[in-house]
């Protein structure tokens, strides 16, 4: 089988229990290569837990197969966390943050010009080159997300993982960010996995979807998966009732009004 037609990620019967509490139960789902797959569900549905399992940061039962583009090589991941919980008083410029993972020479002996060039390119790709000299702690929510995106892209990822990337960003900014993700994904050909609870982002920007509420309530291409029944099973009955009209006209659920903060 050609590795490019394999799914980028396969979750096989993945369960996560923490202190006897079941967070995820028998998750079976696929992330097609080159897709923008959204993982959606209400708060507490286990979306972030599924990502952490994928990143290998929590213990789980079952299997998660991540297929590298070139067999035998480790998969390169890019990760943009929901909200980077870091020490904002730390003296660290955006440029230092961009190069620290790519040069061995310690930052107190200066920056390698090759790493600086590549960092500038990555910042330019997310329209954030003007932030290079700023202290990382002084960035606004939206600026920080852009820099984190640049940091993830600098990994030249095969799979870009975004956890509620627009959480701290205003609504206009959210869609701008998502347009940026779309453009980068098409330009660079990576697979994108995005966790969100915002259905308007899913309908506008995702190709595939995994609906979660501790279990998989539906998975597949967005157009055929987001039915009223699936949404009701994912988010609870109230949403299903509100969407009867949409279901009758055969369209996916309308965006907006479904935030579960």
């Amino acid at each position: 089988m050609n590795s490019s037609s394999q799914p980028a990620v396969m979750f096989q019967d993945v369960s996560v229990r923490i202190d006897g509490l079941t967070i995820l139960e028998n998750i079976c789902a696929e992330v097609p290569r080159g897709s923008a797959t959204a993982i959606i569900g209400p708060n507490g549905a286990g979306k972030t837990t599924l990502l952490l399992a994928l990143l290998g940061q929590i213990a789980y039962d079952g299997r998660i197969d991540v297929a590298p583009l070139q067999p035998g090589r480790p998969v390169r991941l890019g990760y943009v966390p929901q909200k980077l919980d870091f020490d904002r008083g730390m003296p660290l410029t955006v440029m230092e943050m961009m190069v620290m993972g790519h040069q061995r020479r310690p930052l107190w002996l200066g920056r390698a010009s090759k790493a600086v060039r590549a960092a500038k390119e990555a910042l330019a790709a997310v329209e954030a080159e003007h932030l290079a000299r700023r202290p990382a702690g002084a960035l606004s929510g939206g600026e920080l997300q852009r820099v984190l995106l640049a940091l993830a892209i600098r990994q030249e990822p095969e799979i870009l993982i975004l956890d509620e990337p627009a959480a701290g960003v205003d609504i206009g900014g959210e869609h701008l960010l998502c347009e940026l993700f779309d453009r980068l994904r098409i330009e660079r050909g990576f697979t994108q996995i995005i966790v969100t609870h915002d259905l308007s982002l899913v309908t506008a920007h995702a190709t595939d979807v995994i609906c979660l509420n501790r279990r998989v309530t539906g998975t597949g291409p967005v157009r055929t998966t987001l039915t009223t029944a699936v949404l009701a099973a994912t988010f609870g009955i109230h949403l299903g009732l509100a969407d009867i009209q949409a279901a009758q006209s055969g369209r996916p659920a309308p965006p907006g009004g479904h935030r579960h903060d």
Binding site: P81, G110, P135
Partner: protein, 289 residues
């Protein structure tokens, strides 16, 4: 064995003060010039990782290390070093496995090792005098063997800092981000903890259990205020740590002062910290404007 007396003579000539004519002062200065940069470099990460409590736990494990030496009939200086490294690695290993927060785990290790040390020491009155040496430190009695050991540790530690500084910064920024971006977080955490334990326990000789954490934290905290970048923070910590160590030693030896060396060093660093508050305040104001 290498004879460092030529080095001491040179140091004596380099600092032409009366107090520096004594061999023990020359030895103390050499030891501090080795120890201060190590404390500064590790302190940068201790502050960034918020590990001040960790270094406190290691320094207090000295009691248990000494007690262990008494029980086993071994040289207390070695059991102290070995036990400190074990406690350091133990805390990191337990922290990675347990769902308890890291400061609770450190607290448990801290209390257990202090209690063990005090229990053993309380049985034997003759040791109680030695305990005071650990509390206040005794840089003026440092010998050739210890200085050579410090030099060895200095080489290893600076090599680690030169090759690992950026990765450690990544880990300090965010563990999930660093590990997703292929930094070997676990390896760095363990090596860092082991080296930090060594630096802390060697610093106990110099400034005593009570002030070890200050030796790590205060220069790094001042550096954080002075620096605008992660590279700059390293150099500022070096400057603050080295100048405080040298000034502290020289002041403590003056007739008008006659203070404990460790305490004087930490006081000098604290003066630096007060001075550093000014540029930090200025920068905050600029940001608000």
């Amino acid at each position: 064995m290498i004879d460092p007396s030529a080095l001491y003579d040179w140091v004596g000539r380099l600092v032409p003060l009366d107090c520096m004519k004594a061999r023990f002062m020359q030895q103390a200065l050499v030891a501090l010039v080795l120890l201060a940069p190590m404390a500064a470099a590790m302190g940068v990460q201790v502050v960034n990782f918020r590990m001040a409590f960790f270094s406190d736990a290691i320094s207090h494990s000295a009691f248990a290390g000494v007690a262990l030496g008494l029980i086993l009939g071994l040289d207390a200086r070695w059991t102290m070093v070995g036990f400190a490294v074990l406690v350091g690695l133990g805390i990191i290993a337990a922290g990675r496995r347990s769902s308890l927060s890291i400061d609770v785990i450190i607290g448990v290790f801290f209390s257990a090792s202090v209690a063990f040390g005090l229990a053993v020491v309380s049985r034997d009155r003759s040791v109680a005098r030695d305990v005071q040496r650990f509390l206040y430190g005794d840089i003026l009695t440092i010998g050739d063997t210890n200085i050579l050991l410090l030099a060895g540790l200095f080489a290893v530690l600076m090599l680690f800092q030169a090759t690992g500084y950026n990765r450690l910064l990544y880990v300090g920024l965010s563990v999930p981000l660093a590990s997703a971006h292929r930094v070997r977080v676990r390896a760095y955490q363990f090596v860092f903890a082991a080296l930090l334990s060594l630096v802390v326990i060697f610093s106990v000789w110099a400034v005593g259990v009570l002030l070890v954490t200050a030796m790590l934290i205060v220069p790094a905290a001042a550096a954080r205020n002075f620096a605008r970048s992660a590279g700059g923070m390293f150099w500022w910590a070096m400057v603050v740590s080295l100048t405080s160590a040298v000034a502290g030693l020289l002041i403590s030896a003056q007739d008008w002062a006659r203070t404990a060396t460790g305490a004087t060093i930490v006081l000098c660093a604290s003066v630096w910290f007060v001075v550093s508050a000014a540029p930090a305040a200025l920068r905050r104001r600029q940001r608000r404007l």
